[in-house]
Symmetry: C2
Subunit: 354 residues, 2 copies
């Protein structure tokens, strides 16, 4: 029997753009590879995916994506090792989370074969687009949105699933200064915060702009009730090191189940770094900053892997974090990145060869 991958029709581009790309000077997610995967959902079924030249999508102006925000995505990366072998990192977890997001947004789940075989076929074709420069990778963006028509505020009857690829450099660079937010919120109890849904991100832009005007790069999100608990850092999960213990907030319907987050917890366990998964109060972080027990804070996510925080602001005052020689952040980032680029053993079975 034919596998799904064998059925995928591939239309190759006549004009590759690869020669125009400076792979030594990549920004994040702004250059796209030659091809993309497109798969349509109609009449209750996913059609066979197609791979075609990267190019515009045509949609009716009443497509529900424009009006009611039915959209979800994932962020992944493909890494090339010294032998030009290509690796993914825990891709089945992205597929699982994609379908969790889909359910919450009343969108159809995508079968594993469509996600995984589509991904592997596309990346196999675009292998030359994976950067070899240290710190760079091929950013992978699987996404789905409502293409069905009509102004009725109800789920669409048609969807598009795409995978696009963007050779990318580091997401953040330099020292990150964050603001603990006390007015705006990212998500509600019983809301969509745990899903990678488009609307969760748009809602963060304005508060982040306000913070930027005060000189901060990102917002630390707190609960919407009393702004008492630290929950996420921008679009990343957050870790706080108190003494020698690494603490992160538990996942919930407000907090994303980050793949980097859980990898950090697993690596820490193996390395005998003490971790706690519990609610973190703003009060204890401020107090720890004052008494010197706050050693580190960092964001964790696919795009930036680990993004150390240099300063946090709270109620008009800035608190600087110490600069440590052997920080957990740098140690854990090295462990993860070494697994991702096949530079170290992978005792967890996270690496996935293509």
């Amino acid at each position: 029997m034919e596998t799904l991958a064998q059925q995928i029709n591939i239309e190759k581009t006549k004009h590759s753009k690869i020669d125009q790309v400076d792979f030594d000077d990549l920004s994040f997610g702004s250059i796209f590879s030659d091809h993309m995967l497109v798969c349509d959902y109609k009449n209750g079924n996913w059609e066979t995916p197609k791979i075609m030249p990267y190019g515009p999508i045509s949609l009716d102006p009443s497509a529900k994506i424009f009006h009611y925000g039915q959209s979800i995505f994932e962020g992944m990366k493909a890494y090339k090792d010294a032998d030009e072998q290509v690796w993914l990192f825990r891709p089945h977890d992205n597929h699982r989370r994609f379908n969790i997001s889909a359910e919450r947004m009343a969108m159809p789940e995508i079968p594993q074969a469509y996600f995984m075989e589509g991904l592997e076929t596309l990346i196999g074709l675009e292998k030359a687009w994976i950067p070899s420069t240290d710190g760079s990778a091929l950013y992978i963006r699987p996404f789905m949105f409502a293409s069905g028509k009509g102004f009725h505020a109800s789920p669409a009857d048609a969807y598009k699933f795409l995978i696009c690829l963007a050779p990318s450099g580091a997401y953040f660079s330099g020292k990150v200064k964050v603001l603990i937010e006390e007015k705006y919120s990212r998500s509600a109890d019983g809301g969509t915060g745990f899903a990678k849904a488009g609307g969760n991100y748009a809602g963060q832009f304005y508060p982040t702009q306000l913070a930027a005007k005060k000189g901060y790069h990102q917002v630390i999100w707190t609960d919407d009730h009393k702004h008492e608990f630290i929950e996420e850092a921008g679009a990343m999960n957050i870790f706080v090191r108190l003494g020698d213990t690494l603490v992160t907030a538990p996942t919930s319907d407000r907090i994303l189940d980050g793949i980097t987050r859980k990898s950090i917890l697993q690596i820490s366990e193996r390395e005998n770094i003490k971790t706690e998964v519990r609610k973190i109060t703003v009060g204890e972080v401020v107090e720890a900053a004052q008494d010197g027990s706050l050693k580190e804070m960092f964001g964790a996510g696919t795009a930036a892997v680990i993004s150390p925080i240099a300063t946090f602001g709270y109620r008009g005052k800035d608190y600087d974090l110490p600069e440590l020689e052997n920080s957990y952040a740098s140690r854990l980032k090295k462990r993860i990145v070494d697994i991702q680029y096949n530079r170290a053993e992978d005792p967890f079975g996270w690496r996935y060869g293509i």
Copy 2:
């Protein structure tokens, strides 16, 4: 000096679809008129709007609308009176709210002339598309979304503003049965609930589907903290009549400042219907249903005007509302609709002739 309207370039369709439309059998928002208005925002400026045949929009797959949900909309209607004169209802309020939504979603505001002159020019051209059947109207959908490219989770650098028109019949018909929701939530304190942002709607679909499986048409949203207060009904504001007093929840960052909602409050004041704008607890509504003082519940919004609720469900029990001869719902709906269709005096100055 030329007005903006005089600068709008109009490309007329060669093939009108109007003869294919049965204006006596219209559903809601599923048929679109011949033309649409399109206006692009680039390099920090709105370009001159264009009117062109209704047709597909072409977007880069990395357009931020697909990934980060930057989208807002308005819902309005154009009404035709017995003399074929065309009217809008409080259109400047829609424009104002559109810009309030835009600010919260970190999108550019649209100048009043672009909104109003664009609207008037388009509707003037599409006058034949305004239904004359009672209860029908030309539904107007102004909307804006992020067309700028890139996977960086930050506001786009380009946007599209469009106005599309859909001759429409009633949004709901028949008796509406609603479920008071205690698990899922529509919005957070400090969130985007007051904005007409796409993501607010997508998040409602799944809980509404779950309610539908239990036989309910819509969900009554409560606060996300303790599900103690009644806030909205589906995508509408909610009114509860306790004895002879009409009560609605105050607007907040969780609750939309509905134009129908505030019109109902103003008409009620003039008609000596006692109103209260205050928090409504689920407990008092259930108690009032039990002791007979709960006379009416209805949703209020542009699409349905006033949508009376026949039954509400709470914790596994259904509560039927009485069927009143002279309900506030039917009386207030008649007052509003009579103003909209120019069948009665408009002491408020709400009607806006085109």
